[in-house]
Symmetry: C2
Subunit: 291 residues, 2 copies
Amino acid sequence: MKEFDLIKIVERLFGNEDVITPAGKHDAAYVKIGNRLVVLTCDTVNEISDFPPYMLPEEMGWMAIAVTLSDIAACGAKPLYFLSSISLKSTEYFEEILKGMKKVADRYGIKIVGGDIDFSEVTTIAGFAIGEAKRHITRKGARGGENVFITDLPGKAQLCLEMLENGAKRDELPYAEKLYTPVPRIEEGMRIARYASSMTDVSDSLAVSLHQISQSSNVKIVIDNIDLSHLSGARKPLELFLYGGGDFELVYTAKSSEDGIRIGRVEKGGGVFAEFNGKTFEVEFRGYSHF
Amino acid sequence: MKEFDLIKIVERLFGNEDVITPAGKHDAAYVKIGNRLVVLTCDTVNEISDFPPYMLPEEMGWMAIAVTLSDIAACGAKPLYFLSSISLKSTEYFEEILKGMKKVADRYGIKIVGGDIDFSEVTTIAGFAIGEAKRHITRKGARGGENVFITDLPGKAQLCLEMLENGAKRDELPYAEKLYTPVPRIEEGMRIARYASSMTDVSDSLAVSLHQISQSSNVKIVIDNIDLSHLSGARKPLELFLYGGGDFELVYTAKSSEDGIRIGRVEKGGGVFAEFNGKTFEVEFRGYSHF
């Protein structure tokens, strides 16, 4: 089974919960607590699937909180609280992992209020974040005539991963910070949520994110002829740009925007297409899969 | 390092967060969202530390949500939402795990609103629960002259684990449901929170829970001469009663109570003691440790 088949099982079992946005429909769930619009999300990283070579323990903690907060950013919400369940082989790096979390939390004024420690043979950090949103923004809402924007051109993390696989050392990577200390786009997300019609984060790939917006909004998305010189070191820049994972940028639709780079347009219809070097082709629904 | 040393690191790094009850001080954190008193907690179970032999995939999901909700119960709060991060070796049992979660969620009217799936060599389920409390109750607040109560006499889960280790089959266990499908004491917790002076859950051991109440409240606790016939199958019933883990009962202090069994009394002073068969001895601070 692929990851998206698993999500279908989740939607079948839990897709009808009486909440504003249930599981599987967006990066985080929207619920009401009192009169507040609250977003809830969790995300897990582990050393098998997620930690690149040369990653320091402090960066494992950093990554765990950053990827979880990226889901909160994709709701344009302000993150408030963070908890984590940490499973370790040994307690040696425990404090370093927490210090990495604290760096990200302090940067955004988030309070770390709880956690849990367990023994495991695979170092695993599950993060849980809770935030408050002013507005309900999801992948649904894009309309023909709008443009597609992203907070930074994707493919950089995947390029670094490829270089590591080909024997590069950490200090030879052009975008090491994208891989080791990704930054959740929290301030950007809060600004973008005021005017964008749809938004999501790019964790699996740009292609997956755009397909999700296209399907949720019933629109056609066309990626324009984007300059890929930021991926000039890659064997296949277009492959990394469309299908590479791990960037944690926000992709969104709006008439205009100064918070991101324009990469395409929204039209009536369906599907995701790209125009590169005068040729138009359909973008596949694929990206990084955990299975 | 022992688990309690790890908690000291957590308290040093995060114990001063400006919230009502920060990490490490209670089973769950208390925070304010709008005008609501909200409790947040997370708990992880994995096949190395937590799943007993013969456990079915559905019971793994059941256990994951039940142990997390036990922390919410220890706040006397009403659980509202649940999310989980599931790390699997293969996707084969994914749906069964979710069905087990759904059984517990449906029983208590909890909405499962999100989750995350990852690959790992060790099946791991991290649960995250959010609830709403009417009152702030923690391990602090016990006073001399009160009594100590528990929702059910402990040691039953540990007795079953011992029997399994000695070659017993699942259908020979006297309290299999305590081990495979533990029930969070949610309704009891909500009732008890109205009148109790302190409360916590017994996950590591009765001894650990009573020491935590004793230290937080600055009181002496004396366990009375309790009938241990529920552990008559054990080699060392008193050891299981005091130091066995995995029961997920609520232990609390109050003048009187009809929601639990009286097991002792609160006095001025400090420390935890027990009177059995006419002898008084000091109860050690130990229980199940993940490391």
